[in-house]
Each structure stands twice: as structure tokens, then as C-alpha cells.
Assembly symmetry: D2
Homo-oligomer: 377 residues x 4
Amino acid sequence: MKKIKMGMIGGGIGAFIGDAHRRASRICNDYELVGGVFDINYAKSMEFAVKEGISLARCYNSVDALIKGELKFPKNERMEVVAIVTPNAYHYLFAKKFLDNGFHLVCEKPMTITVKEALELEKLVAKNKLTFALTHTYTGYPMVRQMRDMIAKGVLGTIQRIDAQYYQGWINSIIHGTGSRITGVWRLDPKMAGASSCMGDIGVHAFNLIEYTTGLEVKEVLSDLNSVKDGVTLDLDGTILLRFNKMLKGVIRSSQVCAGEENNLSIAVYGSKASLKWSQENPNYLYMLHDSEPTKVFKPAHGYNDKLAEEGHTMPAGHPEGIYEALANIYRGTAKSIRKEKFKPGEFPTVHDGVRGMKFIHAVVNSNAKGNVWTKV
Amino acid sequence: MKKIKMGMIGGGIGAFIGDAHRRASRICNDYELVGGVFDINYAKSMEFAVKEGISLARCYNSVDALIKGELKFPKNERMEVVAIVTPNAYHYLFAKKFLDNGFHLVCEKPMTITVKEALELEKLVAKNKLTFALTHTYTGYPMVRQMRDMIAKGVLGTIQRIDAQYYQGWINSIIHGTGSRITGVWRLDPKMAGASSCMGDIGVHAFNLIEYTTGLEVKEVLSDLNSVKDGVTLDLDGTILLRFNKMLKGVIRSSQVCAGEENNLSIAVYGSKASLKWSQENPNYLYMLHDSEPTKVFKPAHGYNDKLAEEGHTMPAGHPEGIYEALANIYRGTAKSIRKEKFKPGEFPTVHDGVRGMKFIHAVVNSNAKGNVWTKV
Amino acid sequence: MKKIKMGMIGGGIGAFIGDAHRRASRICNDYELVGGVFDINYAKSMEFAVKEGISLARCYNSVDALIKGELKFPKNERMEVVAIVTPNAYHYLFAKKFLDNGFHLVCEKPMTITVKEALELEKLVAKNKLTFALTHTYTGYPMVRQMRDMIAKGVLGTIQRIDAQYYQGWINSIIHGTGSRITGVWRLDPKMAGASSCMGDIGVHAFNLIEYTTGLEVKEVLSDLNSVKDGVTLDLDGTILLRFNKMLKGVIRSSQVCAGEENNLSIAVYGSKASLKWSQENPNYLYMLHDSEPTKVFKPAHGYNDKLAEEGHTMPAGHPEGIYEALANIYRGTAKSIRKEKFKPGEFPTVHDGVRGMKFIHAVVNSNAKGNVWTKV
Amino acid sequence: MKKIKMGMIGGGIGAFIGDAHRRASRICNDYELVGGVFDINYAKSMEFAVKEGISLARCYNSVDALIKGELKFPKNERMEVVAIVTPNAYHYLFAKKFLDNGFHLVCEKPMTITVKEALELEKLVAKNKLTFALTHTYTGYPMVRQMRDMIAKGVLGTIQRIDAQYYQGWINSIIHGTGSRITGVWRLDPKMAGASSCMGDIGVHAFNLIEYTTGLEVKEVLSDLNSVKDGVTLDLDGTILLRFNKMLKGVIRSSQVCAGEENNLSIAVYGSKASLKWSQENPNYLYMLHDSEPTKVFKPAHGYNDKLAEEGHTMPAGHPEGIYEALANIYRGTAKSIRKEKFKPGEFPTVHDGVRGMKFIHAVVNSNAKGNVWTKV
């Protein structure tokens, strides 16, 4: 089948997330990376293109140049989709330009800096009938998809409590000057990262995972954020109380300074009939708890799973797949959408998930700023 | 060595917690159960005494009768300590009588119904120089004691986040009428249980574990409680934001309606240098996380542990000990205190822990009642 | 209920296994330790008796003196059962004397030094209609009992493979002179331990667990033992091929020099319909594997368990019980037998299990000595 | 960098292992799949080529046609390396042809049917100075490479015991007719699979993992194989005793009929100073056990790892990578060799590993056939 021609903004030498997107696009095998603006520094961008074997003719000096250049190609040779993997502050600006010019998009989260920008992108996507995939990568894991399917089928009964956690520790050594990591530290700069570090970068993943797996919307939040150390201006840590409806509450806990935690994203959804628990660091295990039956452990590559969960794991049972395959699953779903093939909701997170995420981040920041009060999402 | 003569109030036929206390007292081998008031129904109390091989002469009709009867014995034959294992509402009344008459006490938690009662007991204990052990049983686990020791020694550096959880599911089947369990349901009755079900019964254990392991005091709480189902008057579920000082925040999450959860009490303490995690259902594993070193797993019966942690596990390494041994460790420490032997702080929870627990429960209930506002503990 | 008067041979100050027996007997609450010969040194034996609060009148100078002394008591005051917790070499001699004189026995394993002795004890027990419990402690765990019940009910279909492991590491530091442990080293002395160290001390537990859980008999073994270091005369390590019948084979792996292993006894039984796996260090989890269904995790204190498994765990679900409770369950079953109450096969290991164990040890040692050839058990 | 032009023999529609090789080659990004013989049926082969977007001009009718066709290309456009992913019986024949004609090879294991064939290939590779990678995929996991590095550095002291396991269950439902799986059943046919099913397919992986991680050679084996069900001619299950030297023994246990086991390959290496344990289903955890220190858990993406282990994991810590990335690491090392770049031993398994594997399989089959006797490898 003909590959979709893809471009990339950001993701040059040394950028781990850009590399992840490229790997994922190669794994699913629906894409061909044909060009981009890989670095704000043109020389470095070209150095990267050469290294990757990408034609310098399509290694552009700017997003504007890229759009101008690509539009000159006949449609079947033109770049169809662009992956935006820059720091947060540029997402909106670039996304808007691409959408205005008919390019499909894959965009890193958080989608924008403000809710207003997010809503604007949502409108543009709808108006121009384009595909917009927001890489909440964790929704690409087969067992997360299985969890969503089981909840949708009512296996849990009435949901009574939701608890999500996202603990990392990598900023701990940065604020204490004990580590050597430098990449990614733009996340502590409000100009680059937006109004939040911890909640904007990872708390929003936990939020997304809740809405993705349960199909519910968080109505209100009450947050208590912590910048942990004098001189830090953004939140590095916090807890968020959630309300869904009168009888359903929940909590998100998130931190970037939990020494020794790596990427500990977990979710537990407790229902009147049963409960489900999943954890990102061991993504191939989904635990179903029950009041009076043995705990059941669901794993990929078994006939008992939903079709979407099954398709997301290609090896036989017991051969662990990981984060790249999760992202590849999202790229796969995005390709179906771009090609106008049939796909199921949930095959990739959309611009609407991006709007929800921005509303969440802003409600969380506001709740905290106003003294920990309930704030609508 | 001569055994300490012990009495028991409550804990008759079918009461699991009374049985637990008796087993623990036998394991540590410092006590001899000589009498008590085992049931509010005298006939049933006597039936229990006969079954246990306890002299009917010391199976009393009431607490007053017991006190009167025992005081007639010469000092070296008299009951020295009494274990109170009744529903919460009776703790204070009985405890006061015993303390007034010179009996040492082991008391189930929560210690009282009101903070005022708790403070009164605290004064009485001090005044009459008696031993008062509150059975926050989980502090008896060797790895919890090891955690406390490591934190006291500064292994974690500055503590930056504390997260404790206590999830159970047993009330789920009760409120939905799908289970068969009847015992313990007095916990849903405010007259018997006090102002809180979930937080009074189990949330307070999580609170105690935090203060026990870190040596810190929770200053303020903001709680959001949930009674989950129409018609239920007490909290069955909730989340509590914690503040220790300007830069240290935390959270307690607790529920009695998490379908399929058994007794999932866990604590994570995150510091600037390292972190510690422990979980009650696998109590012989203490995890130490570090930014740049392999995770370390501490286990009982190793020379690397603190002396108190080591003494609390008597089998060689790899032979799991459990909840009865944890409670036995507390009984052991209590015996040392009664016998005026030397003991270390932390060998048993005291009346002061009971005061802290009551303050916590009331702050939590008030914070929620007032609309989720910060409330001093 | 009246307690059974118990004596003990061995188990004085510093002996961990004697202490374990006493704790277990107190937990189940059916016994009263009234006397014994606690040490080969009479002064030390008396020192222990004083410490434990046991009457010096029943702290005897020798087994013969004990028998003579106790037989003078009227039957309802006489010691009824004796626990033998001495080094292996004395088991047979003492057991024979007690059986000849009408005492019930609890005996540590391995039961004797030779198969002949074991067969003789088996005959004596039958002839004198006495209760003889051999403390293969691990059969007292509720989930081991559940495993036995499920296999007996045919849940696994035809058994196709059996794999048991018992890895410890404590002798490693002894042979390399890097540890400080001295107790228990008699196990390296053939005069005290018999023909085998590793297989006689722990391999035989794995063997017993196989026959206990499956109800099958091992017909032949082929062993390859290893003494690991020059100068060591007994096996410290080895692997044993097992044959049950034409189509069913298995393996036991056991070692005392696996650095860092604590008490890693595990068993996996694979059947045509499903499989079961259990591991001693996390004894409250029983895993059931299936070709096309999620793995199921069975835990104690649930209605789905067999009655015997349920009775062996007294706390509510999620409160871990451990090795002392397992041994207490065996003491409980033994008490039922002594009191002529009804009990189920499997409530305690019998003299027949002892005979099987001795046959196993000798077949294993012979197979190895003859150059790793198949040897009948 | 210019991609290496790759061909593939086998691996057409429905073949999972061929797909795995292609994914891995795309992940490491050093290869471009330009042609092949994807199916024994030419029409199906072409169907596959079309689907994958491979030029039909390089979709050949046979291996001979491929060699002839490719040799016509100028060197810098010619296929340089071929991946052989057919059933075992064809490996040797095709490999020989390719080596004779100067093609580098990636070959699935077991490498050949006979030891003689294996030795012949080894000579050819040496003579023609070609790169030959045998896909013992599990050696591509970062924590396996870390294990090898730590052992080479002497962290374990003298190795005292080695225990490897490879349990699967997928053939269970086939022999009992309860499953629906059909693919892969050629493994039960001696003409296609060679002299062994279980040991040739998976036991040999366990063997390879032992020699890879320890750098030791197995000298002798004594095997006991089991065909489990009447009518099955090859082994589906078995245990193999291993001897390395006088004081070092070990065991491999392997089965394809362990109901519910997925891909449970594990290895434990026990040394005089410490021990290491690793398990394929949770490949990002390497456990180091010690007699008197806490167990340490090594994970990828940490500075404490060896360089080769670190390079094999590209995401930040806590983002699990899996089997495809392991295979990609092997493809990466192979590319270095093809390009004459510097690489370390262990970056990919070689033709010598293939010779060792064939010697192992044949020793195992012979030991069993002769009545479970020691047989040289």
C-alpha cells in the first residue's frame, strides 16, 4: 500500500520525542518521512536530514517555507501529514498554519498554551475536515483499549471511584543540582511550557486516561499544587480532587520530583460490580478485581480481548510490546483516518481530547491560584 | 518469666478482632488471659469463657463488676491490663473507668468518639502513670519500623511528598445487597461508629502510618468525602489533601467500596535524596527508590535492618510473617512498658497517637461538612 | 475446651525451630506446654524452663526420665503429645520410645536417618493407634490446601508436568567464610544430618509438596547432586528428574548455596486443562493459568475456596498470615486427631509422609552415588 | 546514512516471525527491504510484495532466481543482506547458497537440522568474511546485555549454579484439540522441524541465554524428554541436566505444553558473591540478590548500566520497550558489522552460536534416545 508522506517540525538531533514519533511511524509502516523543519537552527536541521537520509530539498528553513514548498508538489507527492514535536509554546501557531493549508496533523500534548487556542484548532479541524491526532501515547496500549472496552460494555457496573497517578522523579535531581540531565528543562520555563509544568506535562495524561477509559467527563476540580523548592515558579507536584457527578468522585496525583520514580502512570477505576487497574510500567497486565471472585489478569494476544485491543499487539502472547508499539498503534489509527478507511473511536486521541486537556490544565491552575476551590473544567 | 494477667472487654464468639488480640498476646507469650466481659449478653460471654477455658469466676457481667471483682485480688494475682475490643462508642467510657482504677490498657482504634474524650484519656494516662497501647496494628510490621528508622536517620533527605492509601471493598457488597457479610456493619451506624465510617475506621490508619514513619505532624487537611449511595449517612470513601509545612504536601486516599480491594494500605514517602514505599498486603518488602541507583528491596531478618525491625521478625529470612505477628510485636512492646523494662519509642502506639487520630478524624469530617476547606488538625 | 498437655524434646534457648513449634501451638490454642527435655545439657534445659515459666518438676534430664516421670501422672494430667525438634539423628530413637509408651508425636522432618527406621515407626503408629504429625509446615498454608483441593477435583485435567524448586542461600556464606551464622551448621555433618544436607533438609519439602498437592506418587528419580566446594562431604545443591508414569515427568531443583535466595520454595503443576502455581515467599497467592482465559489469582478468606483452605486463614481477606499460622494449622489438625474429632486427610502430614520422604532421600542419594541412574523411590 | 538493502526468504502473509524481522529492521532504521521470496507459492509472494509496496521486479520465484537477479545489480544497488525466516529445514540450503554468493545473512534459529551443516556454514562465513546473525532475539534485551556485562566483570564471584527455564503452552491446545491455532504446527513435523520440537525451538534459546550471559560452555548434558501424548513423535517437554565443570552444574527446563504459560523464559545465575535473575515476560527488570544486602533491581536507561545495555533502550527510564526493540538491537549490531563499523562481541549472535545450538540440540536428543545418559555437547 502507498505510504503516507509525512513531515516533522522539531525532533532533530538529540530530541527523544521526535525520535519516538519516527520510530512509531516506521513500526506501523504506513508513513514515509519526506521532510520537515527539524531544528530552529537551519544548519542543525540539515545535519539531521543528511543523517536520516532525507532529501535536503525538503528540509525547510521554516514552517512557512515548508508549507509554501510542499504546496508546489502535485497532490500525490505532497506531504500529507505533519508531526509537531516542538516545545509546547509553538504547537498552536504551527498547527494553525498547517490546518489552514490542508495538512493533517499529529501533535504532541499539551496541544496549546490556552483554552482559546485549543478551541480555535478544534473549529479549524472540523471546518477543513482534517485528521488531527494528539499523542496521548498511553491510549495506544492494548490493555488500555481493553479497559475502555470493558467499561463501555458495563462490566464494572456503576463507577464509584476513580484514582489516577502519574509520578516521575526526573526533575528532582535538576532542582537539587545532583543530576546531569539538561534536555527537557524548558519545561520549567513558563514561556515555553505554559502555565504548568507537572500538570501540563504529565497530570494531563492521567486526566486523559480517565476520560479515555471511562467515557466520563470530569466536571470540576479542586487542586493543591506545589512548586516544592524556593525559586521554582511552576508546579512540580500536586493533587487534584475530581468530581464527575453527585456520587462519583476521584483524584489525580502527579509529581515530577518523586525521587526514583520513573514513569509511574497508573489508573484504577472502581465500580459497583468490579474494578480495573492498569499501570504503564507493566503495560501488558490489566487487573480485574471482584468482591467474591479471584482477581483476573488480562493480557494481550488472547481471544478474550476486544478486537481493537487485539490488533494493537502483533506478537504471540508473552512477548512484551512497549511504548513504541503503543505510539505506533496511534499512528496506525491516524493513517486509517487520513486514508478515509473505517476506524473505531479511540484509535487515536483527537483535537477534542486536546481541548479537554487544556480546559483541565487551566482549571487546575486556577483552582490552585484561587486558594484550592472547586473550578469547572 | 511471669505472665501479665490480661482481661478483655468484647471479643466474644464470632468477633474477629478480639480473636486477633488473643492470638497476638499468645504469640508474644507475655500474657495470660484470665477474664473479661466478652459479650454484652452475659450468657454468651460465659459460653465464650467456657469454650476458651477461662474461669467463670472471672467472666464478669459488666465492666463495673470486673473492676470491683479484680480489685479484690491481691496485686500479684490481679488483672493488670485490659484489652478493649468493643465497637468504638464504648471505648472512652470503659477506658476511663479502667484508667481511674489503675489498669493498663490495650485499646482498639479509633480511640474515642470525640477529641475531648481523647484528650481526657491522655491526661488520665499521664496522671496515673499507666501504659496505654492503641492498636494501630500496622506499626507492628518490621518493615514499617525499618522505614521509620531510615527516615529518622535522614536517608530520604528533605521529604517532598507523602502519599498514603487505604482501599477496602467489603462495604460494597453490603450497600448493593450482593454479599452475605453481616459482621461489622455497626460501622455504618453513627451511634456506634462515630462521625465517620471510612476515615474513622481505616483512613485514620493511613494517617497514623504517615506520622509514625515520618515523625512529622499533619498541620491541615482539606477533605472531600463520599457516601456513595443514597441512604448512607456516613462517608464510605474520600480523599484528603494534607499540609505539613510550606513546601510539603501530601494526600490520603481511602475507601471501603473499592470492589475487590481487600486491605490495600500503602504508603509512599518521597524525599530529596531517595524514597520509600511499603504496602500492607506484601508487608515483608520495603522498596527504596533512588534517582540514579537500582531500586533496593529491604526484607526482614537481615543484619542491615534496625534492631527494632529485626526483633519483630523471629523466623529466618524468607519465611513470611504476617498481621498476627505485627500485632504481637505491639503486645510485646506494651508488655515491656507494663513491666517497666526499657523500650524504644515506636514499640507500641500510645494514647497520644489516639489523640492525633481523633483530631484527624474530626478535622476531616469538618473540612468536608464546611465545603472542602482547609481545617487545622 | 481442655488443652492438650504437650512436651518438647530439644528446642531450648536459641533454637528457632523449637520456638516456631511453641508459637504455633499457642496460636491454635489447643495445647499447653507442660514439660520436656529442652537441651542435651540439663542445666541449660532448666534455664530454658525457668525462662518459659515451665515447672522444673517436668523439666527432665533425659527422654527416658521424661517417659518414666510422665507415666506416673494420672492419665488426665499426663503429657499426651511430644514435639521432637532435635537434630535429625535423634528423631528415630526418641520417636520409637514415645510410641512404645503411648505418646502422640509431632516430629520435625526428615523423620529418620534410614528408610528402615521410618517403616518401623509407621508400623508402631498403626499398631498403637497413635497420632503422628510430621511437620512439613508448608502443607499448612491455606493456598497449598486450596491447590490440593482443586487438583483433587480435576480442575487441571490430566497432569502433564510438575516442577518444584527449593532454593536457599544461607550455606553460601558458611562455605565461603563470609557470614557470621553458626546455628544449624550441624546440617553439614553426616552424623547429625544423615546422608544428605540439601535434599534431606529442603529437597524433601519440595518432594512432599508435590505428593501433597497432586495426590500422585513419584515412582523413580534420577539425581545429580553437587557439594559445590572441596571439603564439603554432603550435597548442598542438586537437580532431580522425576517420573510418575509413562507420560508424566517432572523435576525438583534445590540448593542451599544460591546467594541471596531466602526460602524460595515454589511449585508449578501443569495440566491438560489448566495449571496452578504457588510460591512460599508470597504464600497468600495461588495462580491458575489457562490457555484461553485470564490468569486467576486465588487468595485466602474468600467463599470460592475449599473449606479446609478457608479455616486455615482467620483474618479477613487482605490481612496476610504467614508461616506461624501455617504451622498452627498443622497443630490444629493434629489436635483434632488426638482428640478423636473428625478431620480431613491433609490436615497434618503423617508418618506415611515421613516414610515417603525417607524413601525419596535415599533414592536421590543412591541415584547420584551410582552415577545418575534411575532409582525407584 | 545510506540504508542497507535487505531481502527476505519466507515471512509472507500471516507469518508472524517475518513481520517481526521487518518491524525490527525498520525500528533500527539501518535497512531497506527491497525484495525476496516471501512465500513458496509465487502468487502469494507477489501478493505480499504488492501489499508491502515492494517492487515486483525484485519479488523472485526462488532463491536461485533471487541470487541470479540480484547479482546483476551494480554493487551499490544490490541486496546486501538476506533474512531467512522459513521453517527450519530450509535454513541450511538457502544459507549456503547465499554465503557462496557473498550475501550477508540474518537467520532464524535453530540454524540448521544437523551439526554437520552448522559447521559447514561456520566455515563458509569465515572463509567469505561475511556477517551472519542468528536471531536469538532475547540477547537483544538491554537487561540481558547488562547481565552479561556484570558477570564478565566478576560481580557474581565463582558461579555455583545455573538454572534456565523456557515454558510455553501453545501446543497444549493443539494436541488436545481444544484450541484454534494452526500456524506454526509444522514444528511437530520432524521433516520440517528437525529432530526436536521443544528443545529445538525454545530449549535452545535457554541454552543460548546461558552461554551468552555467563560466557561459559556447557560441556555435557543428560536429558529426559517427553512427547506427552500418544501419537506425538517429537519432544514437547523435557528437563536437561547440565555440567560445566567439576563444581558447576545446572539445569534447563522447557515445555510447550504448560497450559497457560505464554513465553516464560527465565534465567538465574547463582554465584559465590551474588546472583542475577531475569525473566523475558518482564524484560526491563534485572534482579541482583546478595546474602547480606537488599536485593537490587536494575532497569534500563540509567547511568549505572553498561554502555551496550544503555544503547539498547532509547526511551527515558520507565517507558517499557519490548521484544521488537530487542530484535532491533540485534539488527542494529548486524548493520554495524555489515558496514565494517566497530562493534562489541554480543551485539548480535553469530554463526558460532548457531553451531553451539545445533550441538546442544543433538546432544539432548541423543542423551534421551540412549536412556538419559551424559552426552558431550
